[in-house]
């Protein structure tokens, strides 16, 4: 990329009705928001020039994200507060910036840096479900591997790596929330719904998933997790 570009990291949310967007729709919409914001975005050289922008890991249709990331390269410096306000004013509330910050060009790409994803899965069901899930998770983890169906083929995850933290289960009224963290590896990551469904099947439990939200995306550094901003 040309010498004098500025790499603006944007933390954004995909929430409410807009959680039904696909990754491609998010990519197009964020590009349009950046153009509407009037930011001096950098354009790639070459055959069909386009906005220079890079996205973090994709979210599936229906899954919300509270802290998603994109890097947008600007051809001239705009104070980050100003850039944030401009982007916000040009965005629909469900797909909007949360925070922005310039990052150094030498920092690894979002794709390479973001290796931990935290999720919250909200389910219909109370204490009985919560207890059942807790023991099913423990049993699955004790086995060390989990095979999930991926487009008709089994995909096997080594849980020591794929699931770096034991899921939390908590119940308020008749809603049970499962909090979990997964590692995003080169071959993808364990989908939270897949893990929850495996636990339901194992414990012969009743519970309907009401929503799935990716709450955070994190960078692993020297054994601890940190925010990418």
């Amino acid at each position: 990329m040309a010498e004098s570009t500025f790499r603006l990291r944007v933390k954004y949310q995909k929430a409410g009705r807009l959680r039904h967007l696909s990754h491609l729709e998010v990519v197009h919409s964020c590009g349009r928001a950046a153009r509407r914001a009037g930011l001096p975005y950098a354009v790639t050289q070459g055959f069909s020039p386009h906005m220079k922008v890079a996205f973090g890991p994709a979210l599936p249709v229906g899954t919300a994200g509270l802290g998603e990331y994109l890097d947008l390269w600007l051809s001239s410096y705009v104070p980050s507060g100003e850039a944030f306000e401009a982007l916000k004013a040009a965005s629909a509330p469900g797909l909007a910036p949360v925070q922005v910050k310039y990052v150094a060009e030498r920092e690894p790409s979002l794709g390479a840096a973001l290796t931990i994803a935290k999720y919250e899965v909200v389910m219909e069901g109370g204490e009985v479900l919560a207890e059942g899930l807790t023991s099913s998770f423990a049993a699955i983890i004790a086995e060390g591997v989990l095979a999930v169906d991926h487009k008709g083929k089994p995909k096997v995850f080594e849980l020591a790596s794929a699931l770096p933290k034991e899921p939390d289960v908590c119940t308020i009224k008749e809603r049970t929330t499962v909090g979990l963290a997964v590692r995003i590896g080169e071959r993808g990551s364990l989908r939270p719904e897949a893990l929850v469904k495996a636990a339901l099947t194992r414990g012969a439990l009743d519970g309907r998933i009401m929503s799935v939200t990716r709450t955070e995306l994190l960078v692993e550094q020297d054994g601890s997790w940190r925010d990418p901003l």
């Binding site: 967007l21 696909s22 729709e25 197009h28 590009g31 349009r32 928001a33 153009r35 509407r36 055959f47």
Partner: protein, 617 residues
């Protein structure tokens, strides 16, 4: 008012593309005014949102004092089924209001094969399918759009139909309706008032006269005009192009800003309905085109602007517009596109001005294989023009060209069919000659062949569409005359063309067939994989109508036609002269280059061609 979102949302997890139903798009309007309009498009979101008229009408209605307009698309089958079983009625996107709670339903009539989706929409909305069965409590259902020029097949479903341009008419329609509401008018009094709005056709005020099984014309009931004349916007620059159209999240067909640069086309192709019904030609000035394109781009954030019309390259200021736009957009990655190009050298220059080196395919429509037949249809393109253009395009680096032809045109002989094959071969060789040998592998000449469908208000409105067996025979003749490798031949489904022919020239009796087909499960017939000819055959049989008597019958030129009470301004006498010219293989020039040829539009509607400058032929 009832907000349906909480009942809609749970349905979204089990269906395809929930993004079709979630609204929240940039540019959508959430005003809540006393008079509510639902703009209904009879197909799914991604098709409807590509329609520029929807964006124009959305803006025109929403600027009216006390009026809010919302969009409605027909839910795809999975969602419609889920809605029916959950008891959720058809809803407006913006406020999730039941469509039946609106005051006015404006339904677009974009294409004949969407007619059964009008019934799907009315049924999902919980409204009676037929105008005569709706009550004072129901909204007024008004249609309009490209298919309104022969409205009879859908007339019984609609309370009123706007013929022609909508920009000015929407305010008049709303004013007439609101006055009726204020006066406490009955439904029939409201419809009578609407019939007095210029361009508005109220089908219930017209009765078909049938004698001895033959249609003898329409009789207007007292108070209704004998002939309904289309509305014409005299000058496109009376309104700006929508300054901030709605930006879909979903990847829609034509995902870009469209700026209409001109309306109407006077080239006079004799098979073309659009060319007859949208006269006269009205160009916007380069200043307003550039201004509207730039402001819509900055408001929407789109990465492409398309300069739309029936024949954009005809605009007298097109080169100026392209130069100014490409200069303004330089370095932004935003591109300009034109929807279709005509065959002549000028267009290669135009194409060069576009998209900085992006060499997407070029499309040309010679339509017929011999000069004789091109003279019959008044397609003023010579083989020399075509070969020269292809030569220049391929010399300039283009590697793909797509050619459109029709079979079944009036007077067509086997020689004309073989002529298509020969013309394509010469195009192929002309392209190959100037393509470096190493790049010849990437060359592609695509040929798309459709069956001619005679349309209302054209010089060919009296002609018979060729029957199936003949379509098949001509197709196989064409296939055997198309010998080169590297030529990619595709057909338009002849069953679709047949149905299109029946629905486009049928009378009011065809409405029963449309209803029977919908009851038999016909939805989304405009989608190739959803079209089931058998459903329609059963429907024709059940109603007792022989579709070939509509599609494949030669009409007498003095015969009463189901659309005679609808005037597009072009006179019947002119159409007959043009028909005679066609049979005599005589061409008629374009009135924007060579002076008036007397079609009648300008006199009858007190309008004229509006050109932004001198046109180049």
């Amino acid at each position: 008012m009832s907000e349906l979102w909480s009942r809609i949302e749970p349905l979204l997890t089990g269906i395809e593309r929930p993004v079709r139903y979630i609204n929240s798009e940039w540019g959508s309007s959430h005003a809540d005014e006393p008079y509510k309009v639902a703009l209904v498009y009879p197909d799914v979101y991604e098709i409807g949102m590509a329609n520029q008229a929807i964006q124009i009408l959305y803006e025109r209605f929403n600027v009216l004092q006390g009026v809010s307009a919302e969009r409605v698309f027909v839910p795809w089958k999975d969602m419609a089924d889920a809605m029916r079983s959950a008891g959720v009625p058809l809803f407006t996107l913006e406020s999730c209001r039941p469509v039946s709670e609106c005051d006015l339903l404006g339904i677009t009539l974009p294409y004949e094969l969407t007619y059964q989706n009008i019934l799907e929409a009315l049924d999902l909305a919980g409204l009676a399918l037929r105008s005569k069965d709706r009550t004072d409590a129901d909204p007024i259902v008004i249609g309009g759009g490209p298919c309104a020029f022969n409205p009879e097949p859908v007339a019984p479903f609609l309370d009123a139909i706007l013929i022609g341009d909508g920009e000015d008419a929407v305010a008049d329609i709303v004013a007439a309706h609101r006055a009726s509401i204020a006066a406490g008018d009955s439904r029939s009094a409201t419809l009578a008032a609407l019939a007095l709005v210029p361009g508005v056709y109220v089908p219930s005020l017209y009765e078909p006269q049938i004698e001895g099984g033959e249609f003898k014309g329409m009789t207007a009931l007292p108070g209704a005009p004998t002939v309904v004349r289309k509305r014409v916007l005299p000058d496109l620059d009376d309104y700006r192009s929508p300054a901030c159209p709605v930006v879909p999240f979903m990847d829609v067909v034509h995902d870009r800003v469209g700026v209409e640069v001109l309306r109407g086309c006077a080239r006079g192709c004799r098979f073309c309905q659009a060319g007859m019904v949208y006269r006269p030609v009205r160009e916007r000035t380069p200043d307003s085109i550039v201004r509207d394109a730039i402001s819509a781009l900055s408001c929407t954030g789109y990465e492409e602007v398309s300069l739309t019309s029936l024949s954009t390259a005809d605009h007298s200021g097109i080169e100026e517009v392209l130069r100014r736009l490409t200069r303004r957009l330089d370095g932004t990655g935003v591109t300009v596109s034109l929807p279709s190009l005509r065959v002549d050298a000028f267009n290669v220059q135009v194409a060069r001005l576009l998209g900085g080196g992006k060499k997407t395919g070029l499309t040309f429509a010679p339509e017929a294989g011999t000069q004789r037949l091109r003279d019959v249809i008044n397609k003023n393109v010579t083989e020399e023009d075509l070969l020269r253009t292809v030569n220049q395009a391929f010399s300039a680096g283009w590697r793909r060209v797509k050619l459109y032809f029709m079979i079944g045109l009036p007077t067509e002989t086997d020689e004309d069919i073989v002529g298509i094959g020969e013309l394509v071969s010469r195009v192929f060789l002309a392209a190959r000659e100037v393509t470096p040998p190493a790049e010849r592998g990437g060359m592609k000449v695509a040929v798309s062949v459709s069956t001619f469908v005679p349309k209302a208000h054209t010089p060919f409105q009296w002609e018979a569409q060729i029957p199936f067996e003949e379509v098949r025979r001509r197709q196989s003749l064409l296939r055997s005359s198309m010998q080169h490798k590297g030529i990619d031949l595709s057909w338009h489904d002849s069953q679709v063309s047949f149905l299109e022919g029946v629905l486009s020239r049928g009378g009011r009796e065809v409405a029963d067939v449309i209803e029977a087909a919908w009851r038999g499960g016909a939805r989304f017939d405009a989608w190739t994989e959803e079209f089931k000819p058998s459903r329609w055959s059963l429907a024709f049989e059940a109603v007792g109508i022989d579709p070939t008597s509509i599609a494949n019958r030669q009409r007498r030129v003095d015969e009463a036609l189901p659309w005679d009470h609808i005037s597009v301004g072009v006179t019947r006498a002119y159409l007959r002269i043009e028909r005679d010219n066609a049979l005599a293989e005589k061409t008629t020039p374009d009135c924007t280059f060579d002076g008036c040829t007397g079609c009648g539009v300008c006199g009858s509607s007190l309008v004229a061609n509006v050109l932004a400058g001198e046109r180049r032929g």
